[in-house]
């Protein structure tokens, strides 16, 4: 995104709208400017309609900057996954897809969330930490598509400096591996220059319990009182075959 200097009237209405605080006023020139290295191409400034003179210009970028909009503008659909947003269907359709089965837990680190943003260099650090403890990365996930080696979590080096609003590292692992995963995440969390929100996705047992909840409690991982519940209305139901 850029601002047309000729059109901008310096009204100062737009800077608060930028989720990445990338818009500021150039006082001598009396116009607003976008710091291109901080802009994640989310398009909020343009879509908000806050500019009274339509000075925002949305540009089409080539690789590797093109990943910014793909991971930041929720109206864009990832061409590989056909899912709008930044991740997969995960537990939302689990009763139909069987993505998360009994004995396993989905581990998703959403890098840069909430509202901080992330460089792919930090995404790679966390992906490599998860790879070290043997998780399996989700196949229909945009971050997985950017990995050059799924066994190490290494990403395409061309994108490491790119900044995005958030990027989801989605994976699955056996419940008994969860302590190792949490230990590794605790270590890598101190080595990154951003935040991540952690999601644990699980199939519920017939009595409504979730084995991973007990493990998280034992490990001292805080779990919020609210979350997402798939109420099981999707059809056809995925039939899980016991090992």
């Amino acid at each position: 995104m850029r601002i047309d200097d000729e059109a901008c009237i310096g009204c100062r209405l737009c800077p608060p709208y930028c989720p990445m605080s990338a818009i500021s006023m150039d006082r001598p020139a009396k116009v607003a400017r976008i710091e291109q290295d901080e802009c994640v191409e989310c398009g909020v400034c343009l879509r908000s309609g806050i500019c009274p003179v339509d000075a925002f210009i949305e540009e089409v970028h080539s690789w590797p900057r093109s990943v910014r909009a793909a991971f930041s503008n929720p109206l864009l659909v990832h061409k590989e996954t056909r899912v709008p947003g930044r991740g997969t269907e995960e537990a939302k359709t689990n009763e139909v897809t069987g993505q998360f089965r009994r004995g396993f837990v989905g581990v998703t680190a959403e890098m840069g969330r909430p509202g901080v943003g992330t460089r792919f260099s930090d995404v790679e650090k966390v992906a490599q930490a998860l790879a070290r403890v043997g998780v399996v990365f989700a196949q229909n996930n945009p971050v997985t598509y950017l990995m050059t080696d799924q066994t190490t979590g290494k990403l395409n080096s061309e994108i490491l400096d790119e900044k995005v609003c958030s990027a989801m590292i989605e994976s699955t692992t056996p419940v008994e591996n969860l302590p190792a995963v949490i230990k590794e995440l605790r270590e890598v969390a101190s080595q990154i220059d951003t935040v991540f929100s952690l999601t644990l996705s699980t199939r519920l047992e017939p009595d409504g319990s979730a084995p991973c909840e007990k493990v998280l409690k034992e490990l001292g991982v805080p779990v919020y009182i609210n979350g997402k519940t798939n109420v099981g209305l999707g059809r056809p139901l995925f039939e899980e075959v016991s090992a």
Partner: protein, 207 residues
């Protein structure tokens, strides 16, 4: 995408914040799913939602409801927001009776959602837990700002805008209700709860 997860707040406040989501599983039940998702939205609309939207089109504050309904496709993810559990219980019963065959997810306090499912005769299948924020937490805004901004899971609502509109409310330039609607426009998916936001903003403006 876990866009309806990680909403923050007190138990009292979160009990006024429920999000329904409906979508098809790609390659499995997506044929004809656009009509079913449209029916989902029509059920939602019968009960005065605080917001509705489609991730592909927009929400009821930046797009007309007719346009949202008309543009639903098989890759849509459609939503409805409610502010009380009694209405959520009624809507869930109607969705069960409609037997759309689409996946339905309810975001909200687990204890309430569990009771609502039980009352509707439904056994929850899977859950997503929100297990905190990790890393450089000093980069986060205050908790009271996060309570507003995390109602848009794609982070389209800037913490600076919350501060700016709180100042405008204090100055009497905008009402808390209109500020809530301004935020709702920015959250394209239609999962932002402007009613809850208005309550939170009023408290912030009174401090």
């Amino acid at each position: 995408m876990t866009h309806t997860l990680h909403r923050r707040g007190t138990e009292e406040s979160l009990n006024k914040d429920y999000v329904f989501l409906c979508m098809a599983a790609k390659g499995i039940n997506e044929d004809g799913s656009e009509d079913k998702m449209r029916e989902f939205l029509k059920i939602i609309l019968r009960h005065e939602p605080a917001n509705i939207g489609d991730m592909r089109t927009g929400n009821m504050y930046d797009t007309s409801i007719e346009e949202i309904l008309a543009k639903v496709t098989s890759t849509s993810i459609v939503h409805g927001v409610f502010t009380d559990r009694d209405t959520v219980a009624i809507v869930l019963r109607e969705l069960k009776e409609a037997d759309l065959g689409m996946s339905i997810v309810v975001s909200g306090p687990f204890s309430s959602v569990e009771e609502i499912c039980q009352a509707a005769g439904l056994t929850p299948h899977s859950v997503d837990y929100s297990a905190d924020i990790w890393g450089k937490r000093e980069k986060l805004p205050s908790d009271e700002i996060l309570e507003v901004t995390t109602m848009c899971g794609h982070a389209m609502i800037a913490s600076n805008l919350v501060k700016s509109l709180v100042n405008d409310i204090k100055a009497g330039e905008i009402s808390a209700e209109d500020a809530g609607k301004e935020f709702a426009k920015l959250c394209e998916c239609g999962i932002f709860n402007p009613s809850r936001a208005a309550e939170l903003l009023s408290v912030m403006a009174s401090e």
